[in-house]
């Protein structure tokens, strides 16, 4: 019987290739009041033998706009097109109301090998804040552009940029050959690549801290089981296939353990699994539902959802064991915690009066701030720099990805009509 089921659900595993797939498009839906004005002049590509496959300045502009911190001047309104700082007439840009200006140019050193140079200029002080030169190949041009965005963002805000990172999510497509696809993409939704395709549901992707693997739940054997898959090689292994529930995997910050939820001993409880020794340890033991574990940054405790009080609320428990401490008291439904990298905030699904929104708990003050205004939001996930929360929102018959700044002010939608997108998770900073 098992063999026949495996035959029925032939899985197509893709090694991560460079081939681009259907891209997500971005729509800024939140206000940009108070954002700092910056102009990004299209980079000089006039010396290139062939057209560059990516518009670098456009990618940078889109990144900076999404941050909500910067407001990029419309290309059509640019008063001039300098490519070097010494070509800049600062009064012109001051007159156009810009605080910052980015100029740049691209050289082709040999076929397909480029050098990108850019400068970030302070219009008011009339000086260069940052200048960089970087090598690029055709296939990593977009990634280089995101790195430029990171440099600019960090120079202006003092906060590390997270544009050159990746997101993972599940796409469900009604009329496609495979109904469920686990994908990874750049943070602007481009460069989407399939990790796994299946006829049966895929759930709960979780990034390894080094960004090289994903843990996820797959129903390919007609029951939920947890797998770990290396992105580069597509090599994967089943790490949990107990009877009952195998769900909600979450990596420990050191990458050595997975927290997961099993119901093999009765009700859903949180366990930890040493991925090397396969040693399994039960962490919670309660008749109620305990699920959605996430590790605190020090790796010493786990925050999880439990309905032990009668409705789902967030709790924290020491990994060594002990009593769970309740963290949320406002609202009847608080679940799916995502911890900010500095540990100060917890984003969650917050249900009140039949509406499920993304909210953020300030752990110091205990204040809960609702960040979204829709009614079927889920799966919040902090960006690795802690400035944005990525989440899924159901509108009509499909789910869409949104990201909202932690002050709730800036919001953008990564939309794609080809399917129902859910369970986004923002990956870690690229390991150097």
């Amino acid at each position: 019987m098992k063999r026949s089921i495996i035959c029925l659900f032939v899985m197509f595993l893709w090694a991560i290739s460079t081939a681009g797939r259907a891209a997500l498009t971005i729509e800024i839906t939140g206000g940009t009041e108070g954002a700092l004005p910056i102009a990004v002049v299209p980079f000089d590509v006039s010396k290139l033998a062939s057209k560059l496959p990516a518009d670098l300045a456009q990618i940078v502009s889109s990144d900076l706009n999404r941050s909500g911190v910067l407001k990029v001047m419309d290309r059509g309104a640019l008063p001039a097109s300098p490519h070097y700082s010494n070509q800049v007439k600062y009064q012109q840009w001051r007159g156009a109301g810009q605080d910052y200006l980015v100029v740049g140019r691209v050289r082709e050193d040999s076929p397909g090998i480029y050098t990108i140079e850019f400068q970030l200029l302070d219009v008011l002080k009339q000086k260069q804040l940052l200048g960089r030169s970087m090598k690029a190949k055709k296939r990593n041009l977009r990634s280089r552009a995101h790195q430029i965005s990171d440099f600019i963002y960090q120079q202006i805000t003092g906060i590390r940029g997270a544009f050159n990172t990746r997101i993972a999510y599940v796409r469900a497509q009604k009329n496609a050959a495979r109904k469920y696809v686990l994908q990874v993409a750049d943070t602007d939704g481009f460069n989407a690549q399939n990790v796994l395709e299946s006829d049966e549901p895929i759930m709960s992707p979780s990034w390894s801290p080094d960004g090289k693997s994903l843990a996820y739940v797959s129903f390919e054997n007609r029951r939920p089981e947890i797998y770990i898959q290396q992105l580069a090689t597509a090599r994967r292994s089943k790490v949990s296939g107990f009877s009952g529930l195998n769900s909600a995997p979450s990596w420990s910050p050191d990458g050595k353990f997975l927290a997961l939820v099993l119901s093999k001993d009765g009700s859903p409880d949180v366990y930890t699994l040493n991925t090397a020794t396969k040693r399994l340890k039960r962490l919670t033991k309660h008749r109620a539902i305990d699920t959605e574990p996430v590790w605190t940054q020090d790796g010493r405790s786990i925050i999880f959802t439990s309905d032990r009080s009668g409705s789902p609320q967030l709790y924290q428990i020491n990994v060594a064991g002990g009593r769970a401490k309740r963290l949320t008291f406002e609202g009847k439904y608080n679940s799916a915690a995502s911890l900010s990298p500095d540990g100060k905030y917890i984003a969650m699904v917050h249900g009140e009066r039949g509406q499920y929104k993304i909210a953020q708990l300030d752990r110091e003050t205990g204040n809960l701030t609702v960040l979204t205004d829709s009614s079927l939001d889920e799966s919040p996930s902090f960006s690795p720099n802690g400035r944005m929360v990525l989440y899924a929102s159901t509108r009509g018959s499909n789910g869409f990805l949104y990201a909202v700044s932690i002050d709730g002010r800036a919001k953008h939608k990564l939309s794609d009509q080809a399917g129902d997108i859910r369970e986004p998770v923002w990956g870690p900073f690229e390991s150097k």
Binding site: M1, R3, S4, I5, C7, L8, P201, M203, S204, F219, R222, R223, P224, S243, G244, L245, S247, A248, V261, S263, G266, S267, P268, I289, D290, T291, E292, T305, D307, S311, P312, Y333, S335, A336, V349, G351, G354, Y356, L376, E378, S379, T394, S397, R422, E423
Partner: protein, 199 residues
């Protein structure tokens, strides 16, 4: 091996008699290769208007409705009992309140009948598929679906079904029975489906 799905009486009719001696793998594939659920529902309706002749054709002595009234149920095979379109055994979906795995007294009564039936028919196995509506978080919902399936399992075990006969699986909110963001759809989706297999 034979799977019984409430939505697929036409499949049962077609395959029951024909494939009794066929290998398990073949039958499983035939069933799984059937049209997707939406189509099945439509075909279901189509078959009903044609009368139930097709239903009985493959089954020796099997009949429905009127026939069951005069046949001593204790003499019927598990397959025949599962073929009946009326009575507690034909009711194979148990519904729940929001964020609850609590069974209503009506549900318990239905499940008690199932439990006794399973206990009395060792060749029967049941897959208990737990589901939740779309509201809230997916991981919580899959846990909720698991608890719902466990609630059902407990009643069946209490009636004497053996643990080997029961398999629970939760799909959470992944496989709604009805799409849409309405109270009606949500109510239809908070469910446990009993899926029978006669080995």
């Amino acid at each position: 091996m034979k799977r019984f799905d409430f939505l697929k009486p036409w499949l049962l009719a077609g395959f029951l008699g024909i494939f009794v001696t066929a290998c398990a793998t073949t039958q499983e594939e035939i069933l799984e290769d059937g049209p997707p659920p939406e189509d099945q529902t439509q075909m279901d309706g189509g078959m009903a208007t044609d009368g139930t002749g097709a239903d009985a054709s493959g089954i020796d002595g099997g009949d429905d409705g009127a026939a069951t009234a005069i046949v001593d149920e204790s003499m019927m095979s598990a397959v025949e009992l599962l073929e009946q379109t009326e009575g507690a055994l034909s009711n194979r979906t148990i519904y729940f309140e929001f964020d609850s795995a609590k069974l209503t007294s009506e549900s318990i009564a239905i499940l008690e009948t199932h439990g006794s039936f399973i206990a009395g028919n060792g060749e029967v196995t049941v897959r208990l598929e737990g589901h939740a509506d779309e509201r809230g978080s997916r991981e919580y919902n899959i846990a909720l679906g698991d608890r719902r399936a466990q609630s059902v399992r407990r009643v069946l075990l209490f009636q004497g079904a053996s643990t080997d006969q029961l398999e629970t699986v939760s799909y959470g909110e992944e496989q709604p029975a009805m799409s849409g963001h309405t109270e009606e759809a949500w109510a239809k989706n908070r469910r446990v489906e009993l899926i029978y297999t006669v080995n």
